[in-house]
Symmetry: C2
Subunit: 98 residues, 2 copies
DNA sequence: GTTATATATGAACAGTTATTCATATGTGCA
DNA sequence: TGCACATATGAATAACTGTTCATATATAAC
């Protein structure tokens, strides 16, 4: 007999991985791995539309992959969790191996 | 200055994570973590359409997350890579923590 | 208050994707 | 060869998702 996680956990888990399944969000996570950064600097660094960045940051925030803090007019984002780095590293190992 | 992976690597990486971003494929991977299994048994275990399972297995195979071998009329699938297990475990830790 | 800057948000559109159905291919056996 | 079983595949559909544009909200300085 096979011991599957509950449907709820499976949904949560696939929702989590969906976040990593987009190269834009991966780029944002890579940038934040260097340290916290505000929205305009992220947009400039990645040469992306501010609105697109903001939409993606919202998803990352809701799913607790990043933290946000306000400083004056700016919002600074940072990685929330060491798992983020581990998951990306494992994935990178996989694709680079062969 | 930030050291981003190449665009190609980022695409490969997001494509890899997309595979984990679907609860059907996660269920298949969980089942295969118990050991190799053929397509009909996977379909029965997960109460899924045979065609749907086959389509998903094809994606997993193309992306080298599973191996396939034929035995008579049946095709037996198994996990291809220890990274699969590590990635899922890290994800599960993340969602269960809080 | 007004204005400028920074970020967030809603709606719309285009592109992608999982599932289903029907059918094809492959294998074993009589 | 013919038939049954196992799996794969192509097309169609429905649902989802990322980006853009326009605009709203928030903060600071005046």
């Amino acid at each position: 007999m096979i011991n599957l996680p509950s449907d709820e956990d499976l949904m949560d888990l696939s929702d989590l991985f969906k976040l990593f399944g987009d190269s834009t969000r991966l780029r944002i996570l890579y940038v934040l791995h260097e340290g916290e950064m505000n929205v305009s600097d992220i947009s400039d660094t990645l040469e992306m539309n501010q609105s697109a960045v903001s939409h993606q940051l919202k998803q990352l925030r809701i799913n607790k992959l990043v933290n946000a803090r306000r400083e004056g007019k700016s919002m600074y984002y940072s990685l929330a969790d060491e798992h983020v780095h581990t998951i990306i590293s494992m994935g990178m190992e996989h694709i680079l191996e062969e």
